[in-house]
């Protein structure tokens, strides 16, 4: 589904990703761990199409297409979803009209009929229940004045509504209490099918108690320096990152 080969990315002339390789197949969950500043958010953003990054080498294919040929909205319509580490506040745009517009853009892309207000509300209320959100949030402006946990739930709500093929969760677990964390994990587990895949960027192993990854990768100094199964997360939890040889070198 997603194939990243030797990806090199710079920001304002500073290389951040320095030859990253990753293969993701349908049905898989990949966890990406790594120290702060190692490039996890940069990778997430570049997959979602955020402007301001310079791709200096390598290639990324999504469903057989060159990802860089698609702009952010085309990627979203093709099933890529990024749950932001720091969700953006949008005063003056209420959550309902935002979500309705998003759903209908994606339905339109798939040749489906747009949802009317009644059908949309019915659908959204069911999804809100799934992620444990009060329907009162529908009337509020997108993320404005939401607590950290509420913003993260709102991200998962959007993911539940848009049903992506490739979901990327960028530290969705940080700042969450254990109940919220479980809700997020349940959301992902319910969405999980044989056809879709997830990249779960996390700092902590605890999320991986609830979302069981098929692979764990360590990103450090702009490269994946170690990959393994779910045991790797436990090992990292115990020993930290310093024992990995390339980390010492990268620092």
């Amino acid at each position: 589904m997603l194939s990243i080969k030797n990806l090199q990315v710079s920001v304002e002339g500073n290389p951040i990703l320095k030859g990253l390789n990753l293969e993701i197949k349908a049905g898989e969950i990949h966890a990406i761990m790594g120290p702060n500043g190692s490039g996890k958010s940069t990778l997430s953003h570049i997959l979602a199409g955020r402007p301001g990054y310079e791709v200096t080498g390598g290639e990324v294919h999504y469903q057989g297409k060159n990802l860089f040929d698609l702009n952010p909205e085309e990627r979203a319509r093709a099933g890529i979803f990024l749950a932001f580490q720091y969700p953006i506040e949008i005063p003056g745009v209420n959550n309902t009209s935002f979500l309705k517009k998003a759903v209908n853009e994606i339905r339109k892309h798939h040749g489906q009929e747009e949802l009317d207000a009644v059908d949309f509300l019915q659908m959204i209320k069911a999804k809100m229940k799934l992620v444990g959100m009060d329907p009162a949030f529908l009337r509020r402006p997108v993320n404005e004045g939401f607590s950290g946990g509420e913003k993260k739930r709102n991200e998962i709500l959007q993911m539940a509504v848009l049903e992506p093929t490739l979901g990327i969760l960028d530290e969705t677990d940080s700042g969450l209490d254990i109940d919220a964390l479980k809700t997020v994990a349940e959301g992902v587990n319910k969405l999980r099918t044989k056809e879709n895949a997830f990249i779960v960027v996390t700092h902590y192993q605890r999320l991986l108690d609830y979302i069981i990854p098929d692979f764990v990768h360590v990103l450090s100094g702009g490269k994946i320096v170690k990959s393994g199964g779910k045991e790797l997360a436990l090992e990292l939890e115990e020993k930290g990152y310093d024992w990995l040889p390339q980390i010492a070198e990268a620092v």
Binding site: E73, R77, I88, G92, V93, E105, I106, L162
Partner: protein, 443 residues
């Protein structure tokens, strides 16, 4: 001679001719000739005048506007396709002239008076005179004197003590395309007596290509404890010149809420003067302007805190695209004896193109020591992170921009208390921004 002086001479010549032929009772004649005399010594302002620094009138001087009466009255005019409000009293003016046949006002008014000015001067002359004498705007202002020198068309509203009209009062000014550009001075006189409460909407609309000079002058007198919600909705033609004057005189504990919306017009200049004349009076002014193409929209507000414990809130927003130009001047005067007063001013502008222009000037003059006064002005662009966030949810870039622009406007629109008006304006914003988007998408 300069083009400004030429224009003045031409207008005065036309005015004298008009005055000779105009009918009207003695009262009208008196008021007109006093204004005519003042015109002898007033020139059109130039950009050297501090108050007109950012508004150049030269496009205005290029048009030869015909005086009232000469403008052809649209005979087959009807309201069918016009956005009039169902729920309300209605006064309709076409090309500056009152159309009784399309208006809907109380027939034998006993309490609330809603009348065309020409009727009001017959039976309620003292009340009309009272407003004209008490509520004054800026002295030596050529646009109000021009309007007064041909005073005739307009509206007189009187809300008696403790009365609350059962419906809002809508005044609809429509301008249609005509062979010659015309001058449409209208006068809106409102007296809110003590303890009364009312909603008045001045709604200006012009046919797409119509060229005219709308020159409304509004004078509002508010007695103790009166409340008034007042809307000026400007949907003039993109070729029109809309130069309005409004003065409000507020007595003890009265409350004025004003909404000033400017979407249309080639050149718009609104001067608002609020006199908080007695203690405890409060004013809240909200404004939303959208300047696109080559539109120029200039709002000049002067709030005069002339008594203790008075309060003012100004919240004006501009959306400027293409080669549009928005100007905001917010002068606030807190006089020496106006202790415990409170003035807040906010002006935010959103620039959507490289060539869009905004000039914003807060002018605070504070002579009392125990007061609160603040002002804030921001000029910015759409937020790239917000655009990206929306796009990652499948929303196309130009839709995302439009949503965010609309959201910026909504911060004003959503605060409108009247639901019908709020919905009307919300649609109007969407439409105005949408039209622009479709032009750009087509390019």
């Amino acid at each position: 001679m300069s083009i400004a002086a030429d224009t003045r001479t031409r207008m005065i010549t036309q005015l004298d001719e008009w005055q000779r032929q105009a009918q009207g009772n003695g009262f009208f004649q008196r008021v007109r000739s006093a204004a005519r005399e003042r015109l002898e010594v007033i020139e059109f302002p130039t950009i050297k005048n501090e108050d007109w620094k950012y508004t150049n009138l030269s496009p205005f001087f290029k048009e030869a506007f015909q005086f009232p009466g000469k403008s052809p009255l649209a005979k087959n005019f009807d309201l069918a396709d016009k956005p009039v409000f169902e729920n309300g009293y209605r006064l309709v003016f076409v090309n500056g002239q009152y159309l009784a046949s399309l208006s809907d006002i109380p027939e034998a008014p006993e309490k609330v008076l809603i009348l065309p000015l020409t009727d009001a001067v017959l039976n309620h002359q003292t009340q009309v005179e009272n407003i004209l004498a008490t509520v004054s705007g800026k002295v030596a202002d050529i646009f109000s004197d021009l309007a007064t020198a041909c005073l005739r068309e307009g509206v007189f509203i009187n809300i008696p003590r403790n009365m609350q009209p059962d419906k809002p009062i809508h005044i609809f000014f429509y301008s249609s395309q005509s062979e010659t550009p015309f001058f449409a001075p209208v006068r809106i006189l409102i007296h809110s007596e003590s303890g009364s409460e009312a909603t008045v909407v001045e709604h200006y609309m012009g046919e797409d290509a119509a060229i005219y000079h709308a020159n409304p002058v509004t004078q509002i007198l508010m007695d103790a404890n009166a409340r008034l919600s007042h809307y000026q909705l400007g949907f003039e033609s993109n070729h029109a010149f809309h130069i309005s004057r409004m003065a409000v005189h507020q007595r003890r504990d009265s409350q004025f809420s004003g909404w000033n919306v400017n979407f249309g017009g080639r050149l718009v200049r609104n001067d608002i003067y609020i006199k908080l004349a007695e203690s405890g009076s409060r004013v809240e002014l909200n404004g939303l302007s959208i300047a696109q193409g080559e539109q120029h929209i200039d709002n000049q507000i002067f709030i005069d805190h002339a008594a203790p414990r008075t309060s003012s809130r100004e919240n004006y927003r501009n959306i400027v695209d293409d080669k549009g130009h928005a100007v905001f001047t917010g002068r606030v005067l807190i006089r020496q004896d106006s202790q415990k007063s409170d003035a807040q001013q906010v002006n935010k502008s959103l620039l959507l193109s490289e060539s869009a222009q905004v000039d914003t000037r807060p002018q605070l003059e504070i002579f009392a020591d125990d007061v609160k006064a603040s002002h804030g002005a921001t000029v910015g662009q759409l937020d790239d992170d917000q655009i990206f966030y929306l796009r990652t949810r499948g929303i196309g870039e130009s839709d995302a921009r439009q949503m965010l622009t609309h959201a910026f406007a909504n911060e004003i629109v959503n605060a409108i208390p009247d639901e019908a008006l709020r919905n009307f304006l919300d649609d109007a914003v969407q439409q105005r921004l949408g039209e622009q988007k479709s032009v750009k998408d087509a390019e």
